[in-house]
């Protein structure tokens, strides 16, 4: 009886979710748009395109990754004086809505400013550095640098931002998602960080 009851409960939930999801999706998107156009747009752009290399692009980033970063900013797990104030009032639903909104956006990618450096980065990204024991970034972040549900998309991100994050992983100033990345980055030279960042910005 219990199994049946649980199964029926489960089905009801699924049915409810399916029935409500288009409404939810619309409400979500409207809510996300309001937040973005009210607060996020100044630094990240109205569609997450971020007109300035000082602030990271969010367009095309995985929804769950964005939601997790927002949550980490709020809890302080990821330290950022600027972002902590921005996310203080966001609910988990809003964080996911924002993630979904940005995931749907796309931003134009510009060719690398330094193609030779980008070429070095391409090699490192796909093949790592067997001489130093550095694993290929592609092995986790994917051959197209699109990431996964659990790992960020790197393709198209501003070189300066990517490079800064790598440096911060190294110094442990990037206080979340640090376990694997710290170990990886400790094997990277300054040249390799700059090169990989340059390559990814044009992908």
């Amino acid at each position: 009886m219990r199994i049946v009851a649980t199964a029926i409960k489960g089905l009801l939930y699924v049915a409810a979710a399916l029935a409500l999801s288009p409404c939810w999706a619309q409400a979500d998107e409207a809510r996300a748009k309001k937040i973005v156009s009210g607060v996020c747009f100044v630094c990240h752009g109205a569609e997450g395109e971020s007109a300035s290399e000082v602030f990271p692009r969010l367009a095309g980033q995985h929804a769950e990754y964005i939601a997790k970063q927002l949550d980490n900013f709020k809890s302080g797990k990821r330290k950022s004086t600027a972002m902590a104030d921005m996310v203080a009032k966001l609910t988990p639903d809003e964080m996911l809505a924002l993630g979904k909104y940005f995931e749907k956006q796309s931003a134009p990618v510009e060719p690398a400013k330094d193609p030779a450096l980008a070429a070095v980065g391409q090699y490192i990204y796909h093949s790592g550095n067997k001489f130093s024991g550095l694993a290929a970034c592609a092995s986790c972040h994917g051959p197209k640098a699109l990431g996964t549900v659990a790992l960020p998309r790197l393709a198209g991100q501003y070189a300066i931002y990517t490079e800064t994050q790598l440096k911060q992983f190294h110094q442990r100033e990037r206080t979340n998602d640090n376990a694997v990345m710290h170990a990886i980055v400790s094997k990277m030279t300054a040249l390799e960080m700059a090169a990989v960042a340059e390559y990814l910005s044009s992908k």
């Binding site: 100044v42 007109a51 290399e53 000082v54 004086t81």
Partner: protein, 103 residues
């Protein structure tokens, strides 16, 4: 005689060079200039919640941010408008003041 003459010339040149480079700002003047930021960033740069503190932030970081605001590289709601009112020397002096404040 020749050696002493050369040494003095060198010394004078060095002094002249450093004097022209480091336009020593009166520290009290820098303190007054920096006080103009307190309305948003708190007395002595120690901000109340909701605004970034400047106290104890490195001079380099503050100068870089202000320059980024000035050039438009860093978008802002109003810091780009405020930063353009201050000269580079003033920004250096104000940043040095905040860097020396207790967090």
């Amino acid at each position: 005689m020749k050696k002493i003459h050369t040494a003095w010339t060198l010394a004078l040149l060095l002094v002249a060079a450093s004097a022209s480079q480091a336009q020593a700002v009166d520290p009290l003047q820098a303190r007054s200039w920096a006080a103009g930021c307190a309305n948003c960033h708190g007395t002595n740069g120690r901000a109340e919640p909701g605004m970034e503190s400047l106290a104890g932030v490195s001079q380099e970081d503050i100068v870089k941010k202000m320059q980024d605001y000035k050039t438009g590289r860093r978008p802002a709601t109003l810091m780009h408008q405020i930063s353009k009112g201050y000269s580079d020397d003033q920004i250096q002096a104000i940043a040095a003041y905040f860097a020396a404040q207790k967090k």
